[in-house]
Amino acid sequence: MASENPNREETFTFAPIAEQLEDWGGARESEELLTLNFGPHHPATHGVLRLVVTLQGEVVVSVKPLIGYVHTGIEKTAEQKSYWKAIPVVERMDYLSYFFNAMAFCGAVEKLLELEVPKRAQYLRVIHLELNRLMSHLVWLGTSALDLGAISIFWYCFRERESILDLFEFSTGQRMHTRYIQVGGVIEDIPRGFDKKLRKFLKEMPSRADQYAELLSANEIVLRRLRGTCPLDANRLLELGVTGPLLRAAGVPWDLRKAMPYSSYDDFDFKIPVGTVGDNYDRYAVRHAELYESVKIIEQALEGLPEGPHITTDRKVALPPRHELATSMEALIHHFKLVTEGFRVPEGEAYFAIESPRGELGCFVRSDGSSKPARVHMRDPSFVNLQALSDMVKGSYIADMIAAVAMLDPVLGGIDR
């Protein structure tokens, strides 16, 4: 628990206890409970999150998240599409981590197909996944700082995010919802000049992250808003199924990239930043430190990028190269079959989990042997992590709840799906 750490004690902003309120002469009024509806449309809810908060004075007694406002039935829609057409649909769930959604889905389908992904494709995936993680963390950092009242950091973060989106546009043709990751690999090899542009960005990014730290890490206001507020210990977080930076902030070094490596993550040398007490400041610090680690991973992946195909050569799954269509009848048939019907996946069910910017993103796919999935389910980390909010904010000020929601980093598209 947080209170065991002597260094942090003096900065704690515990909510006033009843006796103190008595001294201030405010006890009688504040014994009354006030139910406050917060959201669904509110700048600090990071989407359409509705919280019903019960307050005693300014102190949160309980908070109940009400969700479903952006439920669009993506899991149901995915069942109506052939496997390769379901990728753009699932990408739109958690709209800040589209590469991760596609990766989780494709990984589950590859598991069912027992398909080997070429090494180069795995590295290209890692490059884009980590760029996406950077992008997601930048959006989080900018908007969270905005919630705490700092506006300039928002522009700085979005400046770097813009460079990442430019890189995405360069390699995939799209800024968001890129549909880059395919079953069996990636759609295209990186274009000429991409590595140069990426290297320039990678050289720049750590110094930019240093700048954010200069602005925030020792900022008096940030420290007062974040340090010691809304801590939750590791045991409770594990009970609540919380994963990702929130769990690591409480000192549990659990990261699927290390624990159960996928897509060649075991080839790279990187660290897992962990916090100590699991308060809002640790949540901030862990994500901030992850910015540097992602840069390190991308650098290594780019240096060690192996030669070879960027997608599986299994023509039953991946489209044949365009130039073959003019000369090979077989390629034309494969192309036609894939585009019209799609590929069939043997019967079975698979659960494939990856480490998204918010925690374990698992995709469950059940196949009935046809060319459309019989069930697609995303275990979205935002959905599960949201359950911890109530435990985090109980007994703290309502202003700290805003900070806690920001540090929770919920993406409502992922929660409601």
Partner: protein, 171 residues
């Protein structure tokens, strides 16, 4: 965990008197993924036993519809042993006529929202759940949309009460 370890695990679970020989229906190891099928009424005992064996983290609870196979509905539990870095899946199958299942929310608080989602989408009733309500669909919604026989499209448009007919829409 490999196939042999899964069979051993199934054997050990069967030797637990709270589960019994009949409790574990199947243990299959496919796609490098261990999956146990157990009797629905024993789910709490099975998960408690697995927790004793180190699978202390419940990663996911999700529903499946095996239409047209019977028993039609399924609920999957994904457990993680964070020390040995292993996963195991547990599934139960439920008839669509009476899909009831003991809730594990009190033992595994993370199941709260996820069981509500399975209830919402598949109509599985979790007995003993503290707050079993719809979570993603509106409260008054009829039917369970993730079931395979639930039609796609043709859904009535809600919030039509503030349509203004004078704005060019034909009467």
């Amino acid at each position: 965990m490999d196939g042999a370890a899964l069979l051993l695990l199934a054997k050990e679970l069967r030797s637990n008197p709270a589960i019994g020989e009949e409790g574990v229906i199947a243990a299959e190891f496919r796609h490098n993924e261990p999956l146990l099928e157990v009797r629905p009424q024993l789910i709490r005992a099975v998960l408690a036993d697995l927790r004793e064996r180190g699978f202390r983290f419940l990663a996911s609870v999700h529903g499946v519809d095996y239409y047209p196979e019977e028993p039609r509905l399924g609920v999957h539990y994904q457990l993680i042993d964070m020390v040995r870095r292993e996963r195991v899946g547990v599934k139960v199958r439920l008839p669509v006529a009476n899909p009831t299942l003991p809730s594990v929310t009190l033992q595994w608080p993370t199941a709260n929202h996820q069981e509500r989602e399975v209830y919402d989408m598949f109509g599985v009733v979790f007995e003993g759940h503290p707050d079993l309500r719809r979570i993603l669909m509106p409260e008054e919604y009829e039917g369970h949309p993730q079931r395979r026989d639930f039609p796609v499209g043709g859904e009535p448009v809600i919030f039509t009460f503030n349509d203004t007919p004078e704005l060019g829409t034909p009467e």
